[in-house]
Symmetry: C2
Subunit: 396 residues, 2 copies
């Protein structure tokens, strides 16, 4: 070892080396920049662009006209250019929330090259940022004990496949020797076993609620609700297939019929409390549909049920024993008096009327449930709210 | 429940609903398309663009001139436009490998909006795809038993912080009741605890090698080698800070000094074989530097040591007890005859000479090591090769 090379020279060499592989076109500007007053600046270096816009849920929604009616879509704002760098600063401070955004460069959607923090939702990848304070503090990694988030494979004998789950175990699980209750948390159509732990912020919400003493330590199991998939795109033996609305095994009974395979695996693999009193199930949109059907199909399995913006509707054109005799199965379920049947939806959700009709039926039958209504529609903002409201009600 | 809505109508509503949140600007074309003969087409819909290029490690490298010398950089190819859709097809079939790429639209680096499968490396996010066959089959999720990949937090008393690890446990770990050997696997400068499990394909390589009987079932622990970080960008209580070369606690002794905290946590938390015979440590670039220093600092801790493109060099300008008395510590380490001391590097690596000098010193002292040389330089392709060569040599 005769060569003496100083650390700074070596760092320089490392930088150059990265140029070979990792730092192609690194960030030229700071974006997003969250100012002290919670206004936010977005910047993009794009000297040749003619028009640069930003679109995201931090902007006021705008009406989008379609042949099927008018819907709320994300707003769009123009950036202004100076010396090749485009910039937009929100005119008002943003409320505390986790926000998603992308740029549009001459109409082409691109991610922000200065912000490596991105989350995929169905077939879109967006950049995200968090404005802290109030409920959004639950979505942040704070200085509290952290649970473990694991990607775990299980065998489903019913489906004849190995499939992947995301499992949250609370801080201390590994060494406590204790048994824990289990909350099964289901995603919506087009999602997968990554959805709740990423945009849903499950680990952060549970870590924070448990640290505050508001939720009991619990295991949270996040399944993949498309029974034709092993795992999320790119993470299965099928390789990457583009996300699509052609989802062959999502709402035709397969997933619900195979659900006991998941519960059996979890009870065999983790230190769980293996009884109805210590099991909850909830889901968003299609996951709410699944939670409704699974909980009534196996009336001795779950004591807590949550329907978040649930796609509740009878599917008379789908033949599955799961969907037969719905009213009789609901009667059996409610006769056993579940500890909690919780329905939540936003006022502008396209499923609002379907949920109103469902609640009316429950009222007519005298079945007890709790109802929680928010503003806005079928969006992750609401699902994070519902999770942070529902989890504290469990296992008490 | 008087309203009868058919499944197809509901699916339609779901699609519209997604338009609100998840499907902003969904993919318009298929990209990348891997043809049967392993040529690959890249496509981008960008009607207003003047020039669209693709850059990535699937193209022949090109020389990049810098004030510090000439380096190999990724090649660039032009796409051609027809009806607003740009396309490039590789003239030759690609060899089996995991490849990274991005588009350049009028000079602006963008990810492929048709390929949600992306991996971050330091401050860049690139799209990836795999051409299977030969060694690259080890990088794919195959129909074999899968281990668990967990994001786990531990407390480091030495650093006074909670920090995050990625832990791979082999298939069957949860229920086998057995104890396992542990392989500590360290990233390079600018990386973090996600690097090896993402671009490094650790879980896939280990799953496949174990299923083939080529590697022993083992636990793999992937640390964060920057002692000032709790976790990867966006996943710590510090929020998202842009990646940078200003890494205050990477090669100044803190990480190495605190390493026993990691080993103690793992031995306390997992069913490990708690002795030198059943511990390995290896790392790439800076992680090779760390592995060299940690293994000689604690000569009774690791029986297997791997230096992958290691940043081996004495840092006479850094004061840390870790870096003192290097030659005496190496003597102690080699006098104890480690089962394997394995050095691997690529022929064009900027650290090639430093590794040659280090090997010469080992030769002069009569210290035994194995040497493995590949083509090319300081790139993930080599580090995946080194991992898949090194893991089968462990714990036998």
């Amino acid at each position: 070892m005769r060569k003496i090379i100083t650390l700074s020279a070596m760092l320089l060499m490392c930088v150059l080396s990265f140029a070979q592989q990792a730092l192609w076109g690194g960030a030229a500007v700071i974006s997003p920049e969250i100012h002290e007053n919670n206004t936010v600046s977005f910047r993009l270096k794009a000297p040749k662009a003619v028009r640069v816009q930003v679109t995201g849920d931090f902007l006021p929604t705008q009406k989008i006209k379609t042949p099927y009616g008018e819907f709320d879509g994300p707003g769009v704002a123009d950036l202004t250019e100076k010396d090749g760098v485009w910039e937009f600063t929100t005119p008002q401070p943003l409320k505390s929330e986790l926000y998603s955004y992308t740029f549009l460069v001459d109409g082409l959607k691109i991610n922000d090259p200065s912000n490596v923090y991105m989350i995929r939702d169905v077939a879109s990848v967006t950049n995200v940022f968090i404005i802290g304070g109030e409920r959004a503090d639950l979505y942040k990694v704070n200085k509290v004990p952290h649970g473990t988030v694991a990607k775990v494979w299980y065998n489903s004998p019913t489906l004849g496949m190995d499939r992947r789950l995301t499992v949250y175990t609370p801080a201390g699980y590994e060494t406590s020797g204790k048994r824990y209750p289990v909350f099964y948390l289901l995603h919506g159509m087009g999602g997968d076993e990554n959805a709740w732990s990423e945009l849903g912020r499950t680990a952060q919400i549970l870590d924070n609620l448990i640290a505050q003493g508001k939720a009991k330590p619990m295991i949270v199991v996040m399944t993949n609700g498309n029974a034709s998939q092993e795992a999320a795109p790119g993470e299965s033996s099928l390789g990457y297939a583009p996300a699509s609305m052609q989802l062959p095994k999502t709402m035709e009974g397969s997933f619900e019929a195979a659900f006991p395979d998941v519960v059996n695996f979890i009870d065999r693999t983790y230190r769980t409390l293996k009884n109805k009193q210590n099991r909850a199930i909830a889901g968003l949109s299609m996951g709410g549909f699944h939670s409704m059907h699974i909980s009534k199909q196996y009336p001795d399995m779950f004591n807590y049920v949550g329907l978040f913006s649930a796609a509740i509707m009878p599917n008379k054109d789908v033949k599955s024993p799961i969907y037969d005799n719905l009213e009789a199965k609901l009667k059996t379920q409610f006769d056993k008096k579940p500890a909690l049947y919780w329905i939540a939806i936003g006022k502008t959700d396209f499923l609002y009327q379907a949920n109103t009709d469902y609640r009316k039926m429950l009222d007519e039958k005298g079945y007890k449930y709790e109802y929680f209504e928010t503003g806005e529609g079928h969006i992750w903002k609401n699902w994070r709210i519902y999770l942070s409201e529902f989890a504290p009600k469990l296992f008490k």
